[in-house]
Symmetry: C2
Subunit: 115 residues, 2 copies
DNA sequence: GACTTAGTCAAGCAGATGCTTTATCAAGCT
DNA sequence: AGCTTGATAAAGCATCTGCTTGACTAAGTC
């Protein structure tokens, strides 16, 4: 049974992860919630830029923002990462299967020659 | 021990996978080698465009092109996919650990109240 | 040698992306 | 009410991307 994830979602997800700053933010959030300001602090770029990066992560479902007083705490939505992993795993598995079949085939040929 | 993959490589890899046509090509190649022309056939776009897509996949190490007569057979280099998977898995694992710790903590609190 | 096949190279263009700056808003502080 | 803090909104700009077309090359066919 295949887990079919729609293409647009994968587009957005991989595109989101294609930026170092955003991968950094995801890694940071995997250690726990953080506000936009906290996430922005380590970077040379403006708070607005980081807020935009978080927007990208939010739009593809990897991160969600809530409110607490004036701050906007962000947290990871890891089931979204699942979609990306499963696509990659599926392709890799298909390739591995193919290599296995090929090797098995070659092994049978080899056996044939030796007999 | 961490498998540290350099950021530029991950940038290129996720960017490569952020395109539906390129993911299609990877999926197709996971079923076996194919020439540029064979890969291009299903698409409305020009052969040149597909060749450029393959170039992107090649530059990030996911695909390699060889030569056979006038054709350029392409094949998947699946150990490259490993880098992407391991980055994602690592972040997800960190998040899962954190959730587990949190739940364990809450469980202990709960126990405390009931005693 | 001329023609076809399979593909690359290169220039150009419309639209997306990553940042900036300025302006604005909502919550808390005095 | 006015000021500060934490953040979003919007406009602008340089660069990158995905595609196109036209020109070229290498290998095989007539």
């Amino acid at each position: 049974m295949e887990v079919t994830v729609d293409d647009e979602r994968l587009d957005a997800m991989f595109a989101a992860l294609a930026d170092r700053t955003r991968r950094d933010i995801v890694a940071r959030l995997s250690e726990g919630e953080a506000t936009v300001g906290e996430l922005a602090a380590p970077y040379a770029m403006s708070l607005q830029a980081v807020s935009q990066h978080i927007g990208v992560l939010e739009r593809c479902g990897l991160v969600s923002r809530s409110r607490h007083r004036q701050t906007r705490p962000c947290r990871l939505e890891p089931q979204a990462l699942e979609a990306a992993v499963s696509w990659i795993e599926e392709s890799r598995r298909a390739w591995a299967d193919r290599v296995d079949r090929l090797e098995a085939h070659l092994a049978r040929l080899q056996e044939g020659y030796q007999r």
